[in-house]
Amino acid sequence: MSDKKPKNVFREGPISSDFIGNSIYKHQSKTSIGAHNIFLGQVRADDIDGKTVSAIEYTAYEDMANQKFHEIRESAFDKFDLTCMHIYHSLGSVKAGEICLFVFVSSPRRKVVFEALEYIVEAIKADVPVFGKEIFEDETHQWKVNS
């Protein structure tokens, strides 16, 4: 859809609240923006058959994943009147309570950001080859599947 080279969406380890705050700060010079919408995926300490998830270890088929993120990005810019869009996803270990996905969209108008953000997050969940190993406190694991 575009000959621009895909960016690398992946970050090693969790995405910090400082990084998110700073990303918001950097948008304050863009004075055509009226509405931001941010989605954050956080690792849940799910209880599964009496064992508690302590972390998720993320891996990805990286080149294809970055290509898919790129296609999602281009498609969202085509569909919605967005001023900017940023996507970051963790690789490696992310502990329960930490953030593994950060999607940030901005537009002059609010209706646009609601539609765009949900579209992007659902596409990421469905189309991007990222894999998650849920590590329990006793160091056993199971593989996460998106619902």
Binding site: T59, Y61, A65, L101, K125, P129, F131, W143, N146
Partner: protein, 77 residues
């Protein structure tokens, strides 16, 4: 034809490796899968999709070489 095969996520637990290169005669994706199923007998119990050169393909797709990846269910976000 040389094909680099990548195993992702829980598929690595079946193959014991993240990638390998195989020499195949060509044919369809299903022909390659037959080879893999006989090499890794737990593979048939696993749920996965197949990508060729980073695009999802069906079993009937012709093998074109370069890179095949076995992708278990996605879990991003």
């Amino acid at each position: 034809m040389h094909i680099r095969i990548k195993y992702l996520g829980q598929i690595v637990e079946v193959t014991g490796k993240e990638e390998e290169t195989l020499e195949v005669a060509g044919g369809q994706v299903s022909d390659l899968l037959d080879v893999l199923n006989s090499k890794y007998n737990q593979l048939k119990n696993k749920d996965f999709q197949i990508a060729q050169n980073q695009e999802l393909v069906s079993l009937e797709t012709e093998l074109t070489g370069f890179e095949i990846a076995l992708l278990p269910p996605f879990a991003g976000g």
